[in-house]
């Protein structure tokens, strides 16, 4: 056993050397027109060797280390205390949530412009994650191309504003509906697919949309993107210093206050907040409706669901369509916030991050997903000094989550629907 362990550890250490030395240990340097291969300095070589030694030691004492890890008390124990009575907890929960939303309404007036801007981004991710949660968490359809619907929403607004001068408020429903239509169109061919196959097809769909946007230069401007996307207006009041469009007035003149760039940022934040709350409430409503249970039933057992007379087509398409609808929402807000969009914003990594939010938060759980969206968006901003190691930290966080809390931050609770009062 010990000899076996030692052999395994030695093997891992050698693999580490083989992988890391050529990547880190050699440098390509341009000397004139030639490229020279030079060895790295001794410091780097020592680091590589140290890494190999660390891998060796970890693999050698792996059991002890993992045992110690497990004995670390769980920071978020699952059932440390008796659960509260269901209806009391629901009441407290709804009060707390209402309180948080009201706080969030007034919060931007007391903090810096940068934080409000970041919070808007967080809210966009909250919308995206809540939408994807319907597809992945509830209906159990692994969608790796979700960012495509986000792109459809954003580009709908950008293109319509460029060619027809449409306003944000009109573009919002159009973008969302168009994204929903794309969801429906994608839904049809993937109806028969499950699991890995579905993931691959949706991944392909996401890439098709991005590459289409990138290459259809005459319409979308290709990699140059589309700029000058208008900001949202408040009943015809613009937030710029000068009014851009005929017939509009400017916000600061109407109310007779000094112009400030912050007004626009706060207004966008409030729009995003209202839309995120709207998204959460609508999806919550869906979850309590029969269609929500149908999504879950289909995830649990497709054959049983069909044996009860549910139509696989209708259930899957509804999940895809509703998920895509809210991605379109988020896309429109994103386009308006940035004022400029390009295919760069809709790469696969975005899909992966949104999916990570859903998994981290706990599949199907709305509160968990919101918390995870906040964590995943804010942490990289806070750790700006470590920005080079961002993906490393992200990966490590994922691994630790899977060790300690594989069910996510806040696993989904069964919503209890009472038909009659019990004596």
């Amino acid at each position: 056993m010990a000899a076996n362990n030692f052999r395994h550890a030695l093997f891992c250490a050698i693999i580490t050397l083989i992988i890391s030395y050529p990547i880190i240990g050699f440098n390509l340097e341009a000397q004139g027109i030639n490229v020279m291969l030079t060895g790295a300095d001794t410091g780097t070589v020592v680091m590589v060797l140290l890494a190999a030694v660390m891998v060796f030691l970890f693999q050698l004492f792996r059991e002890q280390i993992m045992g110690a890890l497990r004995s670390v008390p769980n920071p978020l124990p699952q059932s440390s205390k008796e659960p509260m009575a269901e209806n009391r907890r629901a009441k407290i929960e709804s009060w707390v949530l209402t309180g948080i939303v009201i706080l969030a309404l007034f919060w931007p007036f007391f903090v810096s412009r940068g934080s409000v801007d970041l919070a808007t981004l967080v809210l966009i991710y909250v919308m995206l994650a809540l939408g994807l949660n319907v597809v992945v968490g509830l209906a159990g359809l692994l969608d790796l191309g979700y960012v495509a619907f986000y792109a459809v929403g954003a580009y709908t607004f950008a293109l319509l504003s460029q060619y027809t001068g449409i306003s944000f408020w009109l573009a919002l429903p159009i973008g969302a509906l168009l994204a929903a239509l794309f969801g429906l169109v994608l839904g049809f061919p993937v109806l028969r697919l499950r699991g890995d196959y579905l993931a691959i097809v949706t991944l392909g769909f996401g890439e098709i949309i991005r590459i289409l946007l990138n290459n259809w230069t005459t319409l979308t401007g290709g990699p140059n993107g589309i700029g000058g996307i208008p900001d949202p207006t408040l009943f015809g009041m613009e937030f710029g210093r000068r009014v851009k469009e005929e017939g509009n007035t400017s916000f600061h003149e109407t109310f007779g206050i000094a112009y400030s760039g912050e007004h626009k940022v706060i207004f966008l934040y409030l729009i995003a907040l209202v839309l995120a709350v709207f998204t959460a409430l609508v999806i919550r409503r869906f979850m309590r409706m029969p269609v929500g249970r149908a999504w879950e039933a289909l995830r649990e057992d497709e054959i049983a669901a069909r044996s009860l007379g549910l139509s696989r087509t209708a259930v899957k398409l509804s999940a895809f369509t509703i998920g895509a609808f809210f991605a379109g929402f988020a896309g429109t807000v994103f386009a308006s916030k940035q004022g400029f969009i390009s295919p760069e914003s809709f790469v696969f990594l975005e899909s992966a991050i949104i999916l990570a939010i859903v998994v981290l938060g706990g599949m199907g759980s709305q509160i968990g997903v919101v918390l995870a969206a906040i964590a995943v968006t804010i942490l990289p901003e806070l750790a700006r000094e470590f920005s080079e190691y961002r993906m490393l930290i992200f990966g490590a966080a994922m691994v630790l989550m899977m060790v300690w809390r594989p069910q996510g931050l806040m696993p989904m609770r069964r919503i209890h629907i009472e038909l009659k009062k019990q004596e």
Binding site: A297, E300, D301, G309, R414, I417
Partner: protein, 233 residues
């Protein structure tokens, strides 16, 4: 009530049913027995339209359902308890039952739910428990209860005794007998031939995709061929 006329079913190029004719009359319990791979489950799946019969005709209450989609068939007064129970393990017992009455109104659901709890008091105790955490017998009860939630005129049971303890099997068969008293037609597919034929008004023996024998349950029990092949001599 349910009539199959010379039904052939294919999986790709392989024919699994070679012209099967079965009739289940209103208020009867009809058992279909057969060995592994005889095509019992295929026959049931064909009734449900998944896969559809490649030739032959299937009637439900005089209406031809051969080419109807599964979802539509399952909404026309027929319910199936699939092989291996297939309950929604992540949903609670109550939610499982509600899924069974998906297309009914709330008051209908409430009534059928009470009825199911009367039949299976055990399910009432476990109302808010996740279905996957229950024992096999309880899960089978839930699967039957879920099928009853749509208030079907006819219920199809695919191997309800699969993997259950003898005592539980006895209970399940008692419930099936009780269903007949309530006027529900039962089509029972079983490997447990002795109990299935004992309960049945009539029985069919399916062998490699063909009906070999057809008689009353009692006669089949006494038939030496059946005794040899399915009742252990």
């Amino acid at each position: 009530m349910l009539v199959l006329e010379d039904v052939h079913t294919h999986y790709g190029k392989i024919e699994a049913l070679h012209g099967v004719s079965v009739e289940v009359k209103k208020g009867e319990i009809v058992s279909l027995i057969g060995a592994n791979g005889a095509g019992k489950t295929t026959l049931l799946m064909t009734v449900c339209g998944n896969p559809q019969a490649s030739s032959g005709r299937i009637f439900l209450e005089g209406r031809e359902i051969t080419r109807e989609p599964t979802a539509q068939i399952m909404r026309s007064g027929i319910a199936i308890v699939p092989e291996g129970r297939r309950i929604f393990s992540g949903l609670t017992v109550e939610e499982n039952l509600h899924m069974g009455g998906f297309f009914n109104t709330k008051s209908e659901i409430r009534k059928s739910q009470e009825h199911v709890y009367e039949l299976f008091p055990r399910l009432k105790e476990r109302e808010h428990q996740r279905a996957g955490t229950m024992s096999g017998g309880e899960q089978q009860m839930l699967a039957i209860g879920r099928a009853l939630m749509s208030r079907p005129d006819m219920i199809i049971l695919d191997e309800p005794s699969l993997g259950l303890a003898p005592l539980i099997i006895k209970q399940i068969f008692e419930i099936i007998g009780h269903l007949r008293e309530e006027g529900i037609t039962v089509f029972l597919v079983e490997q447990n031939a002795h109990q299935a034929l004992n309960l049945a008004d009539r029985g069919y023996v399916l062998e490699t995709g063909k009906i070999r024998l057809h008689d009353t349950g009692k006669n089949l029990l006494e038939n030496p061929d059946v005794q040899n092949a399915y009742l252990g001599g």
